[in-house]
C-alpha cells in the first residue's frame, strides 16, 4: 500500500508523503476529563494507566499520508521484524532523487565539523 503512495506522489509531481510513528496502547477513545465524576475518572484514567504501565502490550502506530489519501497500521511485537524489513526496503527503494554526496564534499564537511567542535572545546 505504501508503495502505491510513493509512486503516486512521484508521478503526480506535487505533494509530500508524510510518515508518522508513535506508540499505541490500544486506547481508541479519549480519556475522560479528570474533573468529571470521580467514578468515571477512576475507571477511565485508571485503565489507561494500567495498560501503559503494563508494558510489552504496546504496539507502534504508523501513519502515511499523501494530499488526501491516508493509510495507517499498527505493528505489534510479533510483526516487528517482518514489518521492519519490508518497511526499510520500501523507504530505500522509493526515497530517491536526493543528491549524492561526493567523497570530497563529505570529507570536507566532516573535517569542518570536527574542527568546529575542537575549537568550541578549546574555547570552553
Amino acid at each position: 500500500e505504501l508503495t502505491k503512495l510513493f509512486q503516486k506522489s512521484k508521478s503526480s509531481g506535487t505533494g509530500t508523503v508524510r510518515i508518522t510513528m508513535k506508540q499505541y496502547d490500544g486506547q481508541d477513545r479519549h480519556r475522560p476529563r479528570k474533573n468529571r465524576q470521580p467514578r468515571r475518572r477512576a475507571g477511565g484514567s485508571g485503565s489507561g494507566d494500567a495498560t501503559s504501565s503494563g508494558g510489552g502490550e504496546c504496539g507502534c502506530l504508523i501513519r502515511a499520508t499523501l494530499n488526501s489519501r491516508k493509510l495507517s497500521t499498527v505493528v505489534h511485537q510479533k510483526d516487528v521484524n517482518r514489518f521492519q524489513l519490508a518497511f526499510s526496503s520500501l523507504l530505500k527503494g522509493n526515497i530517491d532523487g536526493l543528491k549524492k554526496r561526493d567523497k570530497k564534499a563529505a570529507a570536507a564537511a566532516t573535517a569542518a565539523a570536527a574542527a568546529a567542535a575542537k575549537a568550541k572545546a578549546k574555547a570552553s
Binding site: R18, T20, M21, G59, Q84, F87, L91, I95, G97, L98
Partner: protein, 76 residues
Amino acid sequence: MTIAETWEQFAQVVDMMFAEDPKRCRVTVSYQPAQGVLVLKVTNDHVTVKYKTEHAQDVKKLEKLTSQLMRQLVSK
C-alpha cells in the same frame, strides 16, 4: 522549534526525548520529491526538533534510526 545541524545531534535528541516520555514522543518523516528534500521531525508536544536533508546517504541513516525506534516503541 529547533533545527538540528547534523545527524548526530538529531539522533541524540531523539534518544533523549524518547527516554523521557515514550508515550508522548512521535516521529514524522516527510519526503518532498518535488524539491528532493527529506525532513524529519521529532516532538513530545513540548519541544520539537527538525532535520532537513537532501543527501541520499541520510536515507540509510534514517532507515536505521526508524527501525531502532520502532523496536523501542514496540518493546515498551
